[in-house]
């Protein structure tokens, strides 16, 4: 069984936000409008944060970290959010009751809520991703629909899924190639190799959430050394 993971090289990230836009287009993430945006209701599965400290300023692209031990699924009262066997943390929009307990429990603030009905079915949307109704939580799924598509294609051609065939929109788009994606359980894959890099670190490692999004940074490695 694959264990999908992502490595984001912060030394390469220019903060251009291409990943953010690619994600929104791919996943039918609604544009909430200026008024809602000023009220702090922006939905952005991939969000580029700016980390400022005395020594430096850096960009931190943050998708859902797809924890291997996710705090959000522990608190869900109705099995609306769960970790699938390949390690992707999913959200069932048709099941979610909108209690927002998972949002309160996520240490990375990676879950978003449909405060209002932000969108309806419309032409130009990605038909592979369902449009969310009001009142439910949504989140990054590592573009799980792309995995399903790639797997079906491979099955139709009677072959195994090749590495690089399944890549989320953000990783595909990144112009500075800061985002690598692949199977962490495959020792030889690019992500597994990068994850072993001395520059590698995880966000909130001490929380025991075991994120499968791994960051690379020279300064962070120095700071931790």
């Amino acid at each position: 069984m694959a264990l999908w993971g992502m490595v984001i090289d912060l030394d390469r990230c220019t903060g251009c936000q291409a990943c953010v836009m690619a994600c929104k287009a791919e996943n039918n993430v609604p544009a909430v409008g200026a008024k809602e945006a000023t009220r702090g209701r922006i939905i952005s599965w991939m969000q580029v944060l700016t980390e400022e400290s005395e020594e430096r300023t850096r960009f931190l692209p943050r998708p859902c970290l797809q924890c291997d031990d996710p705090p959000c699924i522990k608190v869900c009262p109705v099995y609306a959010t769960y970790r699938n066997p390949e390690g992707i943390v999913a959200q069932i929009y048709a099941r979610c009751i909108g209690c927002r307990f998972c949002m309160a429990a996520c240490p990375y603030t990676a879950k978003y809520f449909n405060w209002l009905r932000y969108q309806r079915e419309a032409p130009g949307q990605n038909p592979d991703v369902s449009v969310r109704p009001k009142g439910v939580v949504e989140k990054c799924t590592f573009c799980h629909h792309r995995l399903q598509k790639a797997r079906e294609r491979a099955r139709a051609e009677r072959r195994d899924l090749a590495p690089g065939e399944y890549v989320p929109a953000c990783a595909e788009t990144c112009p500075s190639r800061a985002i690598a994606f692949g199977d962490l359980s495959d020792h030889g894959s690019e992500v597994a190799r990068l994850a072993r890099s001395p520059r590698a670190f995880r966000l909130g490692e001490e929380l025991g959430t075991k994120p499968k999004v791994i960051y690379l940074s020279e300064t962070e490695a120095h700071r931790r050394a």
Partner: protein, 453 residues
């Protein structure tokens, strides 16, 4: 009322027998608050939670604060009444009923807050259909419904003899009282069963009550968020709940005493004794708060400290220091000396504490959510008219339930007061004698005396 023994307690029937203009005026005022709440909820149901001030990091606000607050208030009743009954505190007699009513009424309102908070109230049944017992929310649902059930029965049982009195003597709503009295005639056998049942329930409700606020705290402490993930939260919430519960009870007592002129039943001594209990709880609350914050401060975790300073000097300083003043400084000043003006002082302290404990709940929930671990742009949660309306409506609905109860049932237990006069006096004397060295105890008394608990 021809019965002379009932004539003596005529004041207890008065609220049911006569309806004054004040009653209708109260209904109108409460109706306006409830209407405001209904319009607010309707708006929210129609458009979504977006009409509130909730936003990205602060996904819980007034509703969850109200939930914890109202469930806390519910500890007034059943728990305090059970403890007073079990400890054979004779001064409990006029108080237990009004305490128990608070519990039952406020539990509906408290549990309702969660439904109001849901983004998809239409899928509420998923909690039962697909309930996931690993989630603290399910623990809440279980514990609160058990408490509601036990409290309702615990309110109802001691009400039966009073309902029978109303059935026989009031001449109003006779059918209602006849059904609810369940054929009570007051035979010794019935009396024995009733006392037995009350005693069993009084013991049963105590662990349930403790479990309720413990699991409410677990909603927060089972996450790994700064200032939530703390092992003190269970006892801290239970203590806070009893604290706010006693305060709410004192306020209710004072209001009922004033409106229905029950000064003869609710005497300064009752307020003074409850005041002492409140003082103990004030100190306990401060002790637990102090322990909680000092541990956080010395632990000095960067995330914890962000929340800590946002309360002490940051944007939440007014609610934090307001809480300290209302929950500790003012009540301490008022409650240390209760020899004179016991009623006024305890009521003033209680009103402060009710407000202060609401702020305490707010201070636990919102500052933690406002300070996410990752560097998100700073935001501030401001409730809109919808949350204010819902809160006003919730208080209105609670008070309405209470007012209606007082209109239909005696808010002071008639038979227990009578029992106090007829049996209690002698029983206390006999019990007292059993406490004393053997020589002073008259022989025949021993056989009749129950073993004191």
């Amino acid at each position: 009322m021809p019965d002379p023994s009932l004539q003596r307690d005529a004041a207890l029937f008065a609220p049911i027998a006569q309806t004054g203009r004040g009653f209708y005026f109260t209904l109108v005022v409460l109706g306006i608050a409830i209407l405001w709440g209904a319009v607010a909820y309707w708006t929210q149901f129609e458009y979504g939670l977006g009409v509130t001030g909730l936003q990205q990091p602060v996904s819980w606000g007034f509703y969850v604060t109200n939930f914890v607050f109202f469930i806390g208030i519910s500890h007034a009743g059943t728990l305090i009444s059970a403890i007073l009954r079990l400890s054979k505190a004779e001064w409990r007699r006029p108080i237990t009923r009004m305490a128990e009513v608070i519990t039952v009424m406020v539990l509906f309102i408290g549990a309702g807050q969660i439904l109001v908070d849901l983004g998809r109230p239409d899928r509420m049944m998923n909690i039962i259909l697909y309930g996931r017992y690993q989630s603290p929310l399910l623990w809440d649902a279980t514990s609160i419904s058990a408490y509601l059930f036990a409290s309702t029965i615990y309110l109802y049982l001691p009400l039966i003899p009073d309902i029978a009195i109303l059935r026989d003597h009031l001449g109003k709503h006779r059918f209602l009282y006849a059904v609810l009295a369940m054929g009570w005639t007051g035979t010794p056998r019935q009396q024995k069963i009733l006392n037995r049942a009350i005693a069993i329930l009084a013991i049963m409700v105590i662990p349930i009550a403790v479990s309720v606020h413990t699991v409410v705290s677990f909603v927060f402490s089972m996450t790994i968020q700064p200032a939530w993930h703390s092992s003190i939260f269970g006892p801290y919430f239970v203590a806070g709940a009893i604290f706010s519960g006693i305060a709410a009870l004192i306020v209710a007592m004072a209001v009922i005493r004033r409106i229905h002129r029950l000064q003869a039943y609710l005497k300064p001594i009752h307020f003074r004794y409850l005041g002492y209990l409140l003082l103990v709880m004030t100190l306990l609350w401060f002790y637990l708060t102090f322990a909680e914050y000092l541990t956080g401060y010395y632990g000095n975790g960067p995330e914890e400290m962000k929340v800590f300073w946002s309360k002490f000097t940051g944007p939440f300083w007014p609610t934090f220091w307001g809480m300290v003043a209302l929950n500790f400084v003012i009540p301490m000043a008022l409650l240390v000396r209760l020899q004179h003006h016991a009623v006024g002082k305890t009521v003033a302290a209680s009103a402060c504490i009710v407000a202060g404990m609401w702020l305490e709940r707010f201070n636990i929930i919102v500052p933690t959510l406002s300070n996410p671990r990752l560097p998100f742009p700073e935001t501030m949660y401001w409730p809109t008219w919808v949350e204010w309306g819902e809160t006003a409506g919730s208080f209105g609905l609670f008070i309405l339930f209470y007012v209606l109860f007082v209109k239909f049932f005696p808010i002071i237990s008639i038979w227990e007061i009578r029992e106090g006069r007829e049996v209690g006096l002698k029983e206390v004397e006999e019990r007292l004698l059993t406490y004393l060295p053997d020589g002073t105890e008259p022989e025949p008394a021993r056989r009749h005396t129950k073993v004191p608990t």
